[in-house]
Subunit: 228 residues, 2 copies
DNA sequence: TGACTATTCAATAATTCGATTGAACAATTG
DNA sequence: CAATTGTTCAATCGAATTATTGAATAGTCA
């Protein structure tokens, strides 16, 4: 009593579940999120996600088995990257669904960000529009490598670690919008706090490059200049 | 050595993983797919997905715990439904990603549909355009309840089971486009086969109502006429 | 070539997950 | 009220996952 029809359906949904399974471990989602910012070595991924290298490697291979990431040996290191833009879009969809449906996420966020984000809730769409229109100075506060791998067109790269010493590069009168890896990354929040304290008009944008890309908008990359 | 920052990230990704976990079992994805077509009772879901009722109920509760579906008691039955349109969009994204990245899906599909789908690969976007423009007669060959729960505007409801006896209702000269639950559903394929044999000009559209909705297009519903 | 490094593999133990079964519960019907 | 029906709960077992550890592999660099 196992019709061909049933076999077919089982096979199809089993394939779909490969994607779900790959997305079912918190640490794998963290790795995916990081990879959405740009390619990285196993070691870098392990460090940033607080995993042992062996453990990170294992998770990465699960992701690779699900065809979500690709690996390429580059010199001494193996570099992992998203297999496809579509993977980023999927991640955005998953994150958006979680945000929309799981109220726990908002609680967690509030508990952590608490008062520091005294930032009035900015109208996300309106802010995006102004960023696109070039009406504000856009700051990418992620590490430079991530900026190089892809950033919002026109954005300046000022990693959070260098921000304090590079304040003079920024306009006092024009509004500044800072972004980082996405809604659950704190770099842009810290940047805005610092900027405001120093008298700048600054806002945080929750969206990151993945979100930008997912909307079908162009992303700028800086080709790595290979030193002779 | 567990910074607040790390705790925060762990908590966030753990939440995201709830969605992934819920989507990690083939049978749950099948249930989701069915629910994308419209609300259903536990029994109906169990039947259509070849699960025992107890088993289906268990899976449904996992989905509910992840806030992907809602349950409502309706008389003697409990009716499950998608918790939100967004869930449908997520399912479409997951299915699309699987289709794009997992070549195995195409193999499985070909192996099953094989020659029967001697159907030339239709340009999906072009077909959608013509359907939207009303340039063709659109046939919804799913069971009536699903048609009622939501269908493509202007579509005629002709369940596959009734198609043979209702051929006279259809135009001989105008092109007919049949759709069903989606790309992995065979009802529309069977419909097109029959229609062609009977001399109609018929094509299959892979997209279903979820896909339609995911594009932000309007879906028509038929309010259930309550019999006195 | 030989030391070194980044990554992966293999084995283990702890945990979680899924299907199955039969009982429990709740609402309806006669 | 008792019988019926639809759904959920609880317990069990086998399978699959995860983190951990230490060893193996395959490259690089001097």
């Amino acid at each position: 009593m196992l019709t061909p029809h049933r076999r077919f359906k089982d096979a199809i949904y089993e394939q779909l579940a490969r994607i779900g399974k790959a997305s079912s471990a918190p640490k794998r989602l963290e790795l995916l999120d990081l990879l959405c910012q740009g390619p990285r070595t196993v070691e870098a991924l392990a460090n940033e996600s607080a995993l042992s290298v062996a453990n990170a490697s294992q998770h990465l291979q699960v992701l690779r088995a699900a065809r979500l990431v690709d690996a390429e040996k580059k010199g001494l290191y193996v570099e992992y990257r998203l297999a496809d833009e579509e993977v980023g879009h999927f991640f955005v969809a998953l994150r958006g669904l979680a945000q929309a449906r799981l109220t726990e996420i908002e609680s967690v966020r509030r508990a952590y960000l608490a008062e520091r984000e005294g930032m009035e809730p900015v109208q996300a769409d309106e802010l995006l529009r102004r960023v696109r229109a070039g009406e504000v100075t856009v700051l990418d506060v992620r590490p430079v490598e991530e900026y190089r791998a892809g950033h919002i067109p026109g954005a300046l790269s000022v990693p959070i670690s260098e921000l304090r010493s590079r304040l003079r590069e920024l306009p006092k009168n024009r509004e500044i919008v800072a972004y980082c890896r996405g809604p659950y990354c704190v770099m842009a929040i810290e940047a805005v706090e610092l900027l405001r304290k120093k008298g700048f008009r600054a806002k945080r944008m929750e969206a990151g490059v993945v979100d930008w890309r997912a909307r079908g908008w162009r992303v700028e990359t800086t080709s790595q200049a290979a030193p002779a």
